[in-house]
């Protein structure tokens, strides 16, 4: 069974280490916050100017001036701090954020990522993604393995305009966990019941298959 979006987030949450400062992008990455393992103390950074992002508020605690980068109403936690957008991207650029998780339309086997534009169709803008991928020490992409038309999103060469080059370290999809290595996508884990052959057939980029590919444990 391929993983659900929640399960992709749950698998990525296992990459969080105690003491990490983490930036979660919009979409599946946002769900990672729901699966932070017990005893792992991480601080979530929201690039619109907050360290220490809390959960959604109850109806009586709504503050329209308190949102995350996805424009959702949120709360603070003990130790939260607000700052302006230059400080926010200053800490990102200076490599203070330990892990960035973001979605993608395409990733290639050298770690290039495309996630901001489909020429002639969709032009939403890159937001903070280009700053994050250019500077984050560790970048994990959370996405479906194929697009809605069934075509692979793991390519040898991105066709869409790039967001960043040689920056992605790991990709977690509904089918597999893959590391970006100098040899290409290294297949680390597969979704329960999904065969290596299926992953191979849905991966257009170079795939390195070790002798043992364990199933993902959630």
């Amino acid at each position: 069974m391929p993983l659900t979006k929640e399960q992709i987030a749950q698998r990525i949450a296992r990459e969080l280490k105690h003491g990490f400062y983490v930036n979660l992008g919009i979409g599946i990455p946002t769900l990672v916050a729901n699966y932070i393992p017990p005893g792992v103390d991480v601080v979530l950074q929201s690039e619109n100017g907050l360290l220490g992002m809390g959960p959604f508020p109850t109806a009586d605690k709504v503050d329209p001036d308190l949102i995350n980068a996805g424009k959702q109403i949120i709360t603070t936690i003990k130790g939260s701090v607000f700052f302006d957008s230059a400080v926010s991207f200053g800490m990102i650029r200076a490599g203070k954020v330990d892990l960035t998780v973001l979605g993608a339309m395409e990733v290639n086997d050298q770690g290039d990522i495309a996630n901001w534009k489909i020429p002639g169709k969709m032009v939403k803008g890159m937001g903070g993604a280009m700053d994050l991928v250019a500077s984050a020490r560790n970048i994990i992409v959370a996405m479906m393995h194929t697009n809605p038309r069934g075509a692979s999103k793991l390519l040898s060469r991105c066709e869409l305009p790039l967001t960043g080059v040689r920056c992605v370290k790991k990709v977690v999809t509904d089918l597999a966990v893959l590391d970006i290595t100098p040899d290409g996508f290294l297949l680390r884990e597969r979704a329960p019941g999904v065969t290596v052959e299926e992953i191979q057939s849905k991966t257009a980029g170079k795939l390195v298959i070790p002798s043992e590919v364990p199933e993902i444990v959630l």
């Binding site: 929201s46 690039e47 619109n48 100017g49 907050l50 959960p55 959604f56 508020p57 109850t58 109806a59 709504v62 503050d63 329209p64 001036d65 308190l66 949102i67 995350n68 980068a69 996805g70 424009k71 959702q72 109403i73 949120i74 603070t76 607000f82 700052f83 302006d84 957008s85 230059a86 926010s88 991207f89 200053g90 990102i92 650029r93 290039d112 002639g120 032009v123 939403k124 803008g125 890159m126 937001g127 903070g128 993604a129 280009m130 700053d131 250019a134 500077s135 305009p161 790039l162 967001t163 960043g164 080059v165 040689r166």
Partner: protein, 231 residues
């Protein structure tokens, strides 16, 4: 020293066709609602707007777009505005999409009196086209220029009669950066207090950067994504 003006109409009286404006805010959070309404009323055209987002169809900068008052937008993310996307794809509107950190830092540079900065954001992408690339310690960076805006229009939580500003929560975002970067800076605040009533240790923007200030009559503070938890 008194920077107080009567309201948004007086604050924007000399903003004319073709002006370059910086507008604070992230999404609809911390936007200068009263000045935007005054600009719509005045009907100035051919504006260049530097702002992280372009509002939504019926609020924020979206109101200026509806009236076709904007010639060019410089933003990082415009996903929530269908009219924007329509004008962009049809070629009616010029748009410069730039990385959000680059946007912030180009404001910062202007406010700090520096002509340009180097940033790694966009290296190897179409954002880098035509830009100087320089390698420092083994990594490539793009040369990006400080913004040169005629007016900065910001929204603060509190301000005093000398133009000192305090922001609230994530409504701070680009506001203090733009306040420092405008040739003329206009601040609309939720609460205008006499000079001396703000704690000098807690002021985010020094009044030297602010030329005109007024208390906004109404703030809708629209919420884009009302996310409520049951427990």
């Amino acid at each position: 020293m008194n920077k107080v003006v009567t309201g948004p109409d007086e604050a924007i009286y000399d903003i004319n066709d073709g002006a370059t404006l910086m507008l604070g805010g992230f999404g609809l959070c911390g936007i200068p609602e009263n000045c935007i309404a005054a600009l719509v009323k005045k009907g100035v055209k051919d504006l260049t707007c530097i702002s992280n987002n372009a509002g939504v169809d019926d609020f924020g900068i979206g109101l200026l777009l509806q009236q076709k008052q904007v010639r060019k937008m410089i933003s990082s993310y415009v996903g929530e505005n269908a009219e924007f996307e329509r004008q962009l794809l049809s070629g009616e509107l010029l748009v410069d999409l730039i990385p959000q950190g680059t946007l912030a830092t180009r404001c910062l540079a202007a406010g700090y009196g520096m002509p340009a900065i180097y940033t790694p954001a966009g290296v190897g992408t179409e954002v880098a086209e035509g830009k100087e690339v320089r390698n420092f310690r083994g990594k490539d960076y793009l040369l990006e220029y400080a913004f040169d805006a005629d007016f900065a229009i910001v929204k603060a939580w509190k301000g005093d009669t000398m133009g000192n500003l305090v922001f609230h929560a994530t409504a701070r975002n680009f506001n203090p950066l733009m306040a420092m970067a405008g040739k003329i800076t206009i601040a609309e605040v939720e609460e205008l207090v006499p000079a001396g009533s703000l704690d000098p240790d807690s002021i985010h923007t020094a009044g030297i950067y602010v030329h005109r200030i007024f208390e906004g009559k109404s703030f809708q503070k629209r919420i884009e994504q009302l996310t409520i938890s049951q427990s």
